[in-house]
């Protein structure tokens, strides 16, 4: 299987989503977090936010630069990629 741009985007999306959910699960499994014991939150947030970053990159790059994806899907990828990025920048940082 050749690893062209489309496959890379798909791989990024799959790894990112699984990392995102794994981060949430790890925070719950290691938790609860207290004022003196912050490790679960730190590990969970690292995994979760890395996954979210990979998702955003894959969606925006996939929406802009990959030619093999159909036009409707590219538009959706770009729009939702930017929505997720903006959500993380402006909304979610106040709750995390």
């Amino acid at each position: 299987m050749t690893l062209d741009k489309k496959m890379l985007i798909l791989l990024g999306l799959a790894c990112g989503i699984m990392l995102f959910f794994l981060g949430m699960a790890v925070a719950i499994i290691l938790g609860p977090t207290t004022e003196t014991y912050l490790l679960p939150k730190q590990i969970g947030a690292t995994i979760k936010l890395s996954g979210m970053g990979i998702i955003c990159i894959s969606m925006i790059i996939g929406g802009f630069f990959v030619e093999k994806i159909e036009k409707d899907f590219k538009n959706l990828l770009l729009i939702f990629g930017i929505i997720i990025l903006l959500l993380n920048i402006f909304v979610l940082q106040y709750f995390d």
Binding site: L10, F20, M24, I28, I29, G31, L92
Partner: protein
């Protein structure tokens, strides 16, 4: 194994994991002393949703032999699921803000912690938060479709 079989397998495993997680949390209820079933069920539920979302998104993009509208729906609902959990993710983590040893009255902190443990920060813990965003997403899609049809 073909792409189609992989996607079907991913969706099936995701849904199975989710429901096994639900069954575990209901059959073996957890309390502040024993959190194992709670942690296990939360892990299984979240990994199941992860598999489901991944399969829906990737399936929408690569299943070229299927009808385009069908693929678009699969892709769109995968994205909606992702957005819902992105917004809901801060609520899904738990935190005990008070240091249990310093609670007033020499208490061990059981009253304060019970309240937090009972809130169960998983998908079932804060009832209704998914539905609010789901309804908002469906309304937005409906408006977008209307707008596109007019254009």
């Amino acid at each position: 194994m073909k792409n189609k079989d992989l996607i079907i397998l991913g969706i099936t495993i995701g849904i199975i994991f989710f429901f096994i997680g639900l069954i575990i949390s209901n059959v073996f209820p957890s309390n502040s002393e024993s959190l194992v079933s709670y942690k296990l069920s939360a892990f299984m539920k979240l990994i199941g949703i992860g598999f489901l979302t991944t399969s829906m998104l990737i399936g929408g993009l690569i299943l070229s032999s299927f009808d385009k509208n069908l693929r678009l729906i699969l892709f769109l609902f995968g994205l909606i699921l992702l957005i819902i959990y992105t917004i809901g993710s801060p609520i899904l983590t738990w935190e005990i803000s008070k240091d249990l040893s310093t609670l007033p009255g020499g208490s061990t902190g059981s009253e304060a912690s019970e309240e937090i443990f009972d809130s169960r920060p998983t998908s079932l813990g804060t009832p209704g938060f998914e539905f609010i965003y789901l309804i908002a997403a469906i309304i937005s899609i409906y408006i977008l479709r209307k707008y596109k049809q007019k254009g």
